[in-house]
């Protein structure tokens, strides 16, 4: 761009010379900005390209196609949050990554296995008690994915844990609100299938349609959403084929207007 302006400047002269000097000054400024940004890449989560895989339906939703190491991804929502966390763990856990769940004595482990989580690499600390922060920090040192639930933490503790995750290249997955998270996934109810509204329905709960919304860094301000089956057939995550597949990557506002 700078060269283009310079070329026209040499031909036209006079007024264009001002434009040329402006372009040079802008170029210098940009280079300075680049240099100032230079030492930072290590702090930028996922900059080294290390991304933990997630199931294909979620990969299209998440920036980078998976869980970037070093990030904090909060999972919230009144329904489906637990299933969504298990779905996030599944692919990486199956590929050899270690996951830990802190503060969830009521986690359904059969559901975890059905979602595809390798139970032999899923460490559980059901009752961390007062040591919640210390336990989370310790697990972030050694595990790849750490789900933390339970009480709401102070902002200083949150910042400490997020920094620890960034430093160790782990992914922190708070289950519940976590102000300051890099990404926030919210599960919104779609509806169960298999159980009819009428009486005497002979089915059983089979699949649930949910709408997973994503907000945070690297995502358009309006957020993104995807329609998924969570759990899908046999407990695994799946794409909701009957739902609007093109809803992925489109701002929510557009979709709702359309």
């Amino acid at each position: 761009m700078g060269e283009g302006a310079a070329a026209t400047g040499s031909v036209v002269g006079g007024e264009a010379d001002t434009a040329h000097r402006l372009a040079t000054a802008r170029g210098l400024l940009r280079r300075l900005e680049d240099r100032a940004a230079g030492p930072r890449p290590a702090a930028e989560p996922g900059a080294d390209g290390r991304v933990l895989p997630v199931g294909a339906p979620l990969a299209t939703l998440l920036p980078g196609g998976g869980l970037r190491r070093g990030t904090t991804v909060a999972v919230t929502g009144t329904v489906g949050a637990t299933s969504l966390v298990l779905a996030l763990l599944a692919e990486a856990s199956d590929g050899g990554a270690w996951a830990g769940v802190i503060g969830r004595p009521d986690l359904g482990l059969v559901a975890a296995a059905e979602a595809g989580v390798a139970l032999e690499r899923l460490a559980l600390v059901p009752y961390p008690g007062a040591d919640l922060v210390a336990v989370t920090a310790a697990l972030l040192d050694g595990l790849d994915l750490v789900v933390v639930a339970g009480r709401v933490l102070h902002s200083s503790d949150r910042a400490r844990l997020a920094a620890r995750a960034r430093q160790r290249g782990a992914v922190l997955l708070p289950l519940g609100p976590w102000p300051g998270a890099d990404l926030e996934l919210t599960c919104e109810q779609g509806g169960w299938r298999g159980v009819g509204a009428g009486s005497g329905d002979v089915g059983r709960l089979r699949t649930r349609r949910v709408c997973v919304r994503l907000r945070g860094r690297g995502v358009a301000p309006a957020g993104r959403s995807a329609r998924l089956l969570l759990p899908g057939v046999a407990g695994r995550l799946a794409v909701d084929v009957e739902g609007d597949a093109s809803a992925v990557d489109r701002p929510i506002a557009d979709r709702e207007a359309g």
Partner: protein, 534 residues
Amino acid sequence: MTVPVRVLALWSPDWPVTAAARAAHLTPDRPAAVVVANRVLACSAVARAAGVRRGLRRREAQARCPELVVLARDADRDARMFEPVVEAVEELAPGVEVIRPGLLALPVQGPAGYFGGELAAAERLVDQVAGRAGVECQAGIAEGLFAAVLAARRGVAVAPGDTPAFLAPLEVEELDREPEVDRSELVGLLSRLGLRSLGAFGALAAGDVASRFGADAVLAHRLARGLDPRPPVRRWPPAELAVELELDPPVDRVDAAAFAARTLAQRLHGVLAAHGLSCTRLGVGARTTSGEELHRVWRCAEPLTPSGTADRVRWQLDSWLVRGGRGAVDRLQLVPEETVGAGALQLGLWGDVGEADERAGRALVRVQALLGPEAVVTAVLTGGREPAERVRLVPWGDDRDEAASRVPAASGGEAGRASGSPVREPPPPWPGRLPAPSPAVVPPDPLPADLCDAAGDPVHLATPDLLTAAPRTLAVDGGPPRDVHGWAGPWPVAQRWWAPDGMAGSRLQVLRADGAAFLLFARAGRWEVAGVYD
């Protein structure tokens, strides 16, 4: 590229001669040599001064030094005589590994910190060996075992980071010094190619070495560059690789110990071969009749052969038994402390496999130190019908496989999580089991629930598979009643009716209008929440 840890090697020169001369009560000033197959294997310093060299014919050695005492070789004796040296070192420093009789190594970091410096530690250890065992030895410090042994032969301490520079000017013949490894062909070939120093050999590209000289040369090449001889991919062998032998009657004689050692070594190698592994560090453990536990680690330059294993076990037992005062041995255990793939030198295709597991294990142990051993668990799926019943929680560090198959004693009444649930062998078909999806939330203690019909009256079971009325509202754990959108069931469950903790009741899936789905269980006329489909 990992830098090996700094190792202190203690080397007693001419150990076969030293041991033989001590056994024969010869004074050190008599020239002596150990002769095998008519060739001199080792000679004492006095004999060397008279011109005796390793590899000379016996007659020629005697011609050069007429008063030479010719001794026979006895590997058992060498190992036995070396034991006091090892014990003397162990008094001061942990982690001693015997490489072969006459040579031992230990990580230098601990003693260096304790005695205030590596040189001070080496000096202290040499003094200790001389004082306690009456054996002269030389110490050497360098990065990695190979360099440390070479440093010990020269009696030098290589400064941190200088190991490649220390190795570079040495002759390639140094690669062929270990009696167990025959690299004469490689060394000869390298010399003919004009690569006469380790530095010149190390300067070759690793890929060229591998394609031209073969697997053993890759190892030698790593040694020459001052790297860890084995590729950094190592894994800790699982516990079941260890083999044990109960000795009944207890063994107190060396020949009986040798027999036991051979059978045990063969068993160990059978186990290792079945796993496609071979052992590079062997732990030998024994329990004496007086209840004392003895353990010693042997480290080997090459993966152990069955006979090599048997020899080491025999030497170790020999030294323990002959020293006496410890009683007979009634149990023998071999633990492969470090293994490599049986292909001996297979550079890791996927890099640092196993490192992540080890790192995770350390983190979990740290949490256990914080909260107690029961606080960190992993889950094992077992047989059962209820979501809670199908999970058994195993404290981290316990054997998962054992937990999966164990049948615990039925505990009384209270349907606690897995701990109170009866678990049987987990063959797949469990008729009446809830099909997938399973509830993502399973309360540790079932929550009370109130199921009411349109009139606000509680809904009960008319028969195990029939409700008294269509449910209209559901309130969970004392919460406000919410409209019911749909339900499925009830499905009767009756299991373990013969046991006091057996259960009979019905399951019901209830979907509320707000989207929450519950798994209810009717027990003795009351509904409780067994799971939430979150």
